[in-house]
Each structure stands twice: as C-alpha cells, then as structure tokens.
Symmetry: C2
Subunit: 304 residues, 2 copies
DNA sequence: GAAAAACATGAAGTTTACTCATTTAATTTT
DNA sequence: AAAATTAAATGAGTAAACTTCATGTTTTTC
C-alpha cells in the first residue's frame, strides 16, 4: 500500500487550489514535488487520476474516488489530531474515575457537575469499584483516577490528599447507645451493623475498628444506597458507620444522631490516586482542586 | 502534521497482535522500526500512547483515541484502495453515458439492464445531452461514453461503431404521402414536422435532408416523448422522422407506416465515443459489445 | 503565432524511515 | 530470589523516499 495521508492532502489541495502550482504553495511544496507525487500514485494504481489534455487538470473517475476519500477521511484525522494536541497541553483528556467507597457518591456527583462546567472538553466516566482492584486498573490504564482512603508509596502512581473525614456511628435518637459519649468495639457486639455490599477489608469499621479488637457484630446487613442505610438506622433496624460528610448532609432531615468510634474518633483522609506522569496535567489538577473543596458547601449546610 | 496512515496501520497491528514483535512481523517490519515509529508519534503529540510499565503494552487514553481513528479510517481507505485497483484492471469503473439523440432511449434502457447484470461493480448514469456538448464533456471527464451518430477523427477520443440505422418518415396509414414509394425534401414543404425538442443541427432530417435542399416544412412542432410523436403522426397532426428501430418496435401496435427519405434512404451509424486511453478497459468493451447487439431483439420483434 | 501559464522530467541533495546489533526492563520459571 | 526468558528501547549506519532545482513540453491566451 502506497497511499498515505500526504497524498490525500495533496489531492484535496489541488482540488481547492485548482492547479498544481497553487496547491504546492498551500502545502509548502514545489510544483514538481506534487507532480511526482501524483505520478507515483498513478503508477501505483495503473490508472490516470487526472486528464492531462486539459490544462487546469481535471479529475478522472478514479481521481474523483480518491478525492472523495480525502474529503471523508481528512476531517476525521484532523479532528483527532487536534484533540491529541490538546491532550498534551492538559486542556482536555479522559478522566475515568474509580471509587472504592460507595459513600463517595454523595460528594463526587456535585463535584463532577462543577468540573464538567470548568473542563467541558474532558471525557468523564465513573467506574464503581465493585469487581476489580482500582489501583491495578489505574496502572493498567483502565481508569485515570482512583478515590482511595489508603495512600501507598508507589513508583508509578501519585496520591494526592483531598480532605479529612471521620467515620461516625449513626444511630437513632432513641437508641440505647446514645447514652455513651463515644463507642468502643465491644458496644457493637450485640448490634446489627448495616454496611455497603463490599468486601470487609474495604470497610473501615471492620479493618480499623472491629477486627483489631476481635469483635464481631451480632448481625451484618447490607444495603446499596446511603438513603436506605439511614432509613434502617432511624427505624432502629441497626447501626451504621458512615463518613461524617454523609451524616452532616442528612442530619437535619432525619431522626438520628452520631457518636465517634473510639475516644479519638476514627479519622482518615481521602486521596486521589493518579498515574505519576499524568499527575501534573491541568485537567487532573483541576479535578483535584475541586475535590479538595468538596466539603466546603457540605459544611455550610451543617452550619445551618 | 506527522501522522500518516502508516502509523494508524501500526497501531492497529499492535492492537491485533498484542505486542510490537508480532505486529512487526505482520507488517513486514522489525520490532525496532515500530518502536521508533511509536516513539516519534509520542514525541510529536508530547504524550505517551502506551503504558510502558506493563509488559504487554497497554494503550493510554491518547493511544486509544488514535486506535479508534485507525479503526474508523482504515477500512474506508482500504475499500477505496481495492476499488481503485479494480479500476485499473477494468473490472469496475464509472460509466456515465451521454446521449445526443432522444430516440436512443428506446434501445439504451434494455441494453443497460443487461449491462448492469453483467457488470454489477460499474457505476452507471445517463446524462441527457440537452444543455451541453457531449463530446466536450467526454474530454473533460464529465461523462465517460457518448452515443453519437457523427464520428470524427480525434486524437484523444475513439469512436466505435455500434449498429446502422435508417431515418424513416413515419406517417399515418391514410396520409396522402403514402402514395409515394420514397420521400423527397419538397414533399415536406407543406407538412407539419414533429421533432424532439433539440437544436436543428442535431436532427438528421434538417442537417442531412431538408437543409441541403433548402426546404423548410410548413410547420415544425416539438414533442418530448417518442410515444407522443407517434400519436401525433397517427392522428394526422403531422409527420416525423425517426430511426428505424423505434418504428419497428411500434409498427405492429400503431396505425402508421414508413417511407424512406430519398431514393437510397437516409442511413447512418450510431457510434460509442470514449476516451482513447480508456477504450480498452474491459467494462467499456463490455458495454460496446452489448450495444452492438442492441438491435438483435428489436428485429425479432419486427419479424412477428 | 508568439508569449505566458501550467505541468512533466531527471538528476542531485536531503530528509526520513528502516534495519542491525545491543542494552534495558518486565515477566516467568526454577 | 535469582536466573532465564520474553518484550521493548536505543543508537548508529544505511537505504529509500521525498524534495528541490533546473530545464523541457504542452496547453492556453493574446
């Protein structure tokens, strides 16, 4: 196959310019170069592309076919080319986000709404981290940013802190445990614990609170949606551990209260993990900047 | 712009093969060549296209964009490429036919029906030669074959004879001129002549019969369709000169008869004019072969 | 019919793309 | 863990391709 984009560009330029000479000028070539180029194409296809008997060259049927191809293909190529250039400048790109924690939806959706307005060129998607290891997926390029609560030293990945949170026990106003100033693991031994339907190792309550103390709740029940978990809590069907931002959001509207886990509380920091070589890209930094301010309006809400 | 089809082909091969080495083999290149090629692309776009940290190379978002382009564009390019190759071999091509004579429709349509079946790849169109000079259009590549009755020596065009015809005067059974064995120009001086609506110089009656004798018919009336002309003839509204094949077709169904023009009759030969360099193309020869046999079934009809 | 415009041609020069040989890195095996 | 294996990167040399330059033809215009 001899045909290259270069040839299609030449054909288009000749068509637009009406002559080899003008096309050559537009393409920053000499007329001779174009003549050679066309000749080599004609040679390759064993058929003339232009009628030489007329002086402003006119296309043969074969030439017309090629020109039609040029006019179909070149715009597509140019569009992709432009897009890739802007990728490099960080003005646009692909931002596929994987989240490990279900609760993160509560702040992520509003953040993405704002992000879309600021970075309209960026292709956004959310991958719920149920079936796969988000960090591995990040390395493999399946996703471009992972919201994670346990940063790790990694040569190819960089973890940027977003904001601190505290895991709080949510319980109904009239729940017996409201009597306590803070919760210790043993308090949950006779309770029903409501969680998101994910592996235990991904749930802070287990990995950081119950398992170190060797405590198992009387019952564990799962619910997909935050609203349902809170409903179960207010109706005394169980207790749940959720990040503070979720609870602050809903506290005023629901009849439940919160207690810290342990005397000092169970604190953590949410991080955005990205591939190190992309971490400086403007559209990535733009997301992180918005992510760091995700709690701003939640706290305003809380203050009411 | 650095991007060429070559790069898109490489991306596709790497995607299909799964590795540089296999792709290189498929493309008849070395692994090194591919590595250099990819690197130059990455250099140009200032962004990696593959993640090097994984061993079977995986695409970055930017790489995916390019691959998507490749998969969209390459099939189109390949299709055109194949088509152009077959152009050269004469198996396919474009056959835009210009006809100078209205009456030619009568035999051309059935011929084209047969032609389409034999040459399904050929793109067919008919351009009615009302507004333009068909021979000039042929030279300019606007059409590819002209049905003409006056062949001329031409360096760039070749005229191939199809079949002979005779221009006959059609008149109603009860028309006074039926008394004559053959018609002389003066016979039409008091007649209404019905013709197709084209310039006189294109009508044999005028250019070869009346004008040389300096005779002008009493009246000239025009009609678009052969059927209407014949209707006018049978209803004694006028007489008309038409090629024998048209009349043979309709003779049995209509109440009219024919007389030769002049003692010897006004004979001619229809030719197919094509560009000389295309005249040997198989799909052109195929049409001419069918054209030469166009009268075969007409004559059968006449014999009934 | 001469002048001008447009394209073709061929040799020379330059860029570019490819190959070869080797090194480096990642993955698998022992 | 270390060795072996597979896969990709690198760099210099080479060959090919594209371009230019200078000039020759052909077509068109005046």
């Amino acid at each position: 196959m001899l045909l290259e984009l270069r040839h299609l560009r030449s054909l288009q330029a000749i068509y637009q310019g009406g002559s080899l000479a003008r096309a050559a000028e537009q393409l920053h070539l000499t007329q001779s170069a174009l003549s050679h180029q066309i000749r080599s194409l004609e040679n390759y296809y064993q058929t003339p592309l232009y009628l030489r008997s007329t002086k402003p060259l006119t296309l043969t049927p074969a030439g017309l076919k090629l020109l039609a191809l040029a006019q179909q293909v070149l715009p597509e190529v140019d569009a992709t080319d432009r897009q890739l250039r802007s990728y490099a400048q960080g003005e646009s790109g692909r931002l596929f986000i994987a989240i490990e924690c279900h609760a993160c939806f509560e702040w992520l959706i509003p953040v993405l709404d704002r992000y879309r307005q600021a970075w309209p060129e960026v292709e956004i998607d959310i991958r719920l981290g149920l079936n796969f290891e988000p960090i591995a997926a990040l390395q493999k390029g399946e996703v471009d940013l992972v919201i994670s609560s346990d940063p790790q030293a990694h040569k190819a990945l960089s973890f940027e802190p977003l904001f601190d949170y505290e895991g709080l026990l949510a319980l109904a106003h009239d729940h017996p445990l409201t009597a306590k100033k803070y919760i210790v693991p043993a308090d949950l031994a006779d309770q029903t614990l409501v969680t998101y339907p994910v592996e235990r190792k991904r749930l802070d309550v287990f990995s950081r609170f119950l398992q170190p103390a060797g405590v198992e709740p009387a019952n564990v029940r799962q619910a997909e949606l935050t609203a349902i978990i809170l409903l179960l809590v207010t109706t005394l069907k169980g207790v749940a551990v959720l990040p503070d931002w979720v609870l602050k959001e809903s506290m005023s509207h629901n009849r439940f209260t919160t207690r810290p886990l342990g005397k000092a509380g169970m604190h953590g920091t949410l991080h955005a993990a990205v591939r190190r070589n992309e971490s400086e890209a403007a559209f990535i930094q733009g997301f992180i900047a918005l992510g760091k301010r995700a709690m701003d309006d939640v706290i305003v809400h809380y203050a009411e």
